[in-house]
Amino acid sequence: MPAELAGGLAYWLRRLGGGVTGAIAQLGYVARFLLAVLWHTPAAFRRIQLTLREIYFSGVLSLVIILMSGLFVGMVLSLQGYETLKRYGADEQLGILVALALVRELGPVIAGLLFASRAGSAITAEIGLMKTTEQLAAMEMMAVNPVARVVAPRFWGGVISMPLLAALFSGFGIFGGYVVGVRLIGIDAGAFWGQMQAGVDFWPDVTNGIIKSVVFGIAVSLIAVFEGFDAKPTAEGVAGATTRTVVISSLAILALDFVMTVFMFRGAASA
């Protein structure tokens, strides 16, 4: 009986250890993949047209969903914020509420989540399918490095698009908040903008939002290209990789956001 128990315990411990070492090995693999992407970046940028194409696919084609979401998030934020602020007679502070919430948190985070599901999944599916149809292997046969030709442009296209999309999300959100707050509810426009300008600082509020969106851009793009490159070359493998991209990117965005917020606004809160 004790031998059986020890055997069962050893089995579970071995599984736990295997899981941890597997995760560490995966992390190391991702890190080496990132280094390979950065190493091949100069070669990829020599044909800048490839990267511009990817900015078009992940940035320009995401514009509609990002702008519409930003507009509606801003409008809802304005309505809800007004309801709460009105109780304290502070409804003129609506501008600060909308702008700070969007610039600091909602802009980078929601734009990042949308970007992961709109562009990240497409990148993973595209690279995964290239691998499945052996296009990547064919490139290597022709002495074309697939990391330089396929992966690096997609990575940089995402990294460049993401901060711009987040800024557009925040901008349109504030515009939506203005439309509802000033045009619909009837808050004084001067108070709305004046309070906002008094309460929001370029440094650190806006810059921290930009830093966040850059970090999310790097995280989502890396996860997307890695999952595509690492996908099992089957239809199921590509499907699983696409799902993993969206799930892991979303969790990574939320976790990174929490960690960065702790560091960024701890100083500001105690000041």
Partner: protein, 174 residues
């Protein structure tokens, strides 16, 4: 999709993206009018600064004329020393009074400057000597409750002592 169309759209995208960042910086964050003006520093001692925070406004007659730059504790007198940066276009006389006020019951805490009539003006690094500390609401409430309680107990113990006399005594003690 040919090459020049992609270039055009990427150009439009990058341009409006930077436009949005510019909008956040200028219209929302108000980067341009952020106190970049050199200004000069003034110091003031307060017994208690209450909820005064860094970058809190300094107002004269309700107009923002500067910001609180630094708050520290005098290690000897245990007073709070507040350093403010005042816009250089405004000058205040030597006998200016600085008071810590709150706009509304829950509003922001700011420093109000009340200019006097002294012909000499305050210069960089000068100290405002006439100050009025923050009103701490908890203190006021406890003082009020304490007075009420002592009033009531005075009535109980003194028996025939009339209430107005007790009140007068309290006032005199203060």
């Amino acid at each position: 999709m040919n090459r020049s169309t992609i270039d055009l759209w990427v150009g439009v995208f990058v341009a409006i993206g930077f436009g949005a960042i510019l909008f956040l910086a200028l219209k929302v964050g108000n980067l341009l009018t952020l106190d970049r003006s050199p200004g000069y520093r003034l110091e003031a001692n307060f017994e208690n600064i209450g909820g005064l925070k860094l970058r809190a406004p300094v107002k004269a007659a309700g107009v923002v004329v500067g910001r609180v730059e630094r708050v520290r504790l005098d290690p000897k007198t245990y007073d709070a020393i507040v350093t403010m940066r005042i816009d250089s276009e405004y000058e205040f006389s030597k006998d200016t009074i600085a008071a810590i006020n709150t706009s509304g019951l829950l509003g922001e805490v700011y420093i109000a400057l009340d200019a006097g009539g002294d012909p000499q003006m305050l210069k960089e690094g000068d100290r405002i000597t006439k100050t009025q500390s923050a009103v701490v609401i908890e203190k006021l409430i406890s003082q009020f409750l304490f007075e009420k309680a002592s009033e009531a107990s005075g009535k109980d113990q003194g028996g025939g002592q009339p209430a107005p006399a007790a009140k007068g005594a309290e006032g005199a003690k203060k």
